[in-house]
Symmetry: C2
Subunit: 309 residues, 2 copies
Amino acid sequence: MTPFSLAESVLAGERRSIARLISLVEDGGPLVADAMRALYPHTGHAYSIGVTGAPGAGKSSLTERLVSLARGHELTVGVLAVDPSSPFSGGALLGDRVRMQSHATDPEVFIRSMATRGHLGGISLATPEAMRVLDAAGKQIVVIETVGVGQAEVEITDACDTTLVVVNPGWGDAVQAAKAGLMEIADVFVINKADRQGARETERELRQMLDLSPAERKPEIIQTIATKNEGLEPLWAAIERHRDYQQERGLLDGRRRRRVALEIREIAIERYRRRINTEAGELIEELSAQVHDRSIDPYAAADRVIAHL
Amino acid sequence: MTPFSLAESVLAGERRSIARLISLVEDGGPLVADAMRALYPHTGHAYSIGVTGAPGAGKSSLTERLVSLARGHELTVGVLAVDPSSPFSGGALLGDRVRMQSHATDPEVFIRSMATRGHLGGISLATPEAMRVLDAAGKQIVVIETVGVGQAEVEITDACDTTLVVVNPGWGDAVQAAKAGLMEIADVFVINKADRQGARETERELRQMLDLSPAERKPEIIQTIATKNEGLEPLWAAIERHRDYQQERGLLDGRRRRRVALEIREIAIERYRRRINTEAGELIEELSAQVHDRSIDPYAAADRVIAHL
């Protein structure tokens, strides 16, 4: 299958081709660009929702409920669950995904776990590409679920149209969210597992922290119990209000344009990175031995690599 | 102060200069390279220990205890607590650091929280540079503490000589560690808060997962209660055994050389990134509007940026 025929069957919504192209995106091979370029004119229609928070906050259950809600509104849905990839084996654990099986037979729902095995640009480049595949395949809602504790992971969810930050009741959870840099990227805060002790205190704690922020619009705070399907309709309404807020003020276009600017930059950098790996691998091997011996320093070595390219 | 005189007073162990140079490293300014180059021949003596794990696992308490142990062995210590930086305000919360105050008056201990405000290469480049500052300043042990849930954060701790992965008792914590890619980078597993229910089950769970690994050496698993100072001597001994294991087999040099190769690559990439920002900012603005309108695609736009440089 050529990149162009692959792109065509993705546009036709063919599930196996969608899966195949996302795998290619994960691997970061050079053929991806051709397929993605063919898809590009057909994208820009999906609304993307990021779901992030600490491990164990209940992001998967919440995502599953969001899918049900979207389906209830007769919207087609794509889900990308971005698992941080292991630096050595490159494996992503799929255990949580099993819970998504309630949607497994719905042809209008496409669910995919994603790691970033060989992608040189890492998840920050692979995720927008995979989002675009789902967009091109006609999914109206694309949900990106990722653990929100790392720099790259935070950037991913921030690249969505509406970002949900999920915390749990309990002392310190709001502080941990702030430490992870999640305070400023939240468009809606979700206090999930709200039947646990401390939900009200956590909400108060969040409000206090939000009051310190100079932002014009304060994120709404919604309490949910995803496993019992409680609070999900109010959450959906909050997402819609955030979408409307952005659209009425023309903010959504600006947000998407900034995301595109970042992506252009990252693609250029990734191509440079690839050149280093293909053309300077041996040189770097030699140089690293010299640097390790302290006969040159890492900056001089980097200059030699740059001059070589 | 010139970069060279700054480097000289760092070599003399002058605390304010150490702090100043680490701030420069965080900001990622162009002057840093000169100071770092001057320091480089005087580095390579420190032994580095990475401490990573989920938020709330007790990394700060454990780090504080490690500092005490190292001081008990009459070793000088530097600590870098890497807080994921907020993508917007660039702030790092320093609350946890307050607990380190027991060492605040010890002249042989240097403790520093680190964010990565302006550093274009992010924490993955700023951290090895800051480690090297402490190494050059004569610290014999350098402890890097970071939340281990993101891609970049995992890479940082993996760049240490011995990496401790901290988990807590409780169902699923081992699985979460594996999801975060921490299984393969652990040289020693620490089950902290081991007086909580489930410590034995967590240890068994970890062992089962480790048994699946093809690695020749299985990480030791040590139970600790950092707040009660329990299990710390055994942990120190395990770190020493891991150090000896590597030194006897010549593995430490290989590990450090691989780290240097990564660093050379990252410096070269960072310089390219900086060129993009200084020389192609306006072009990217224009291109992102065209990409947003779908008149060109992001790959074509990236090619235009590359051609421009």
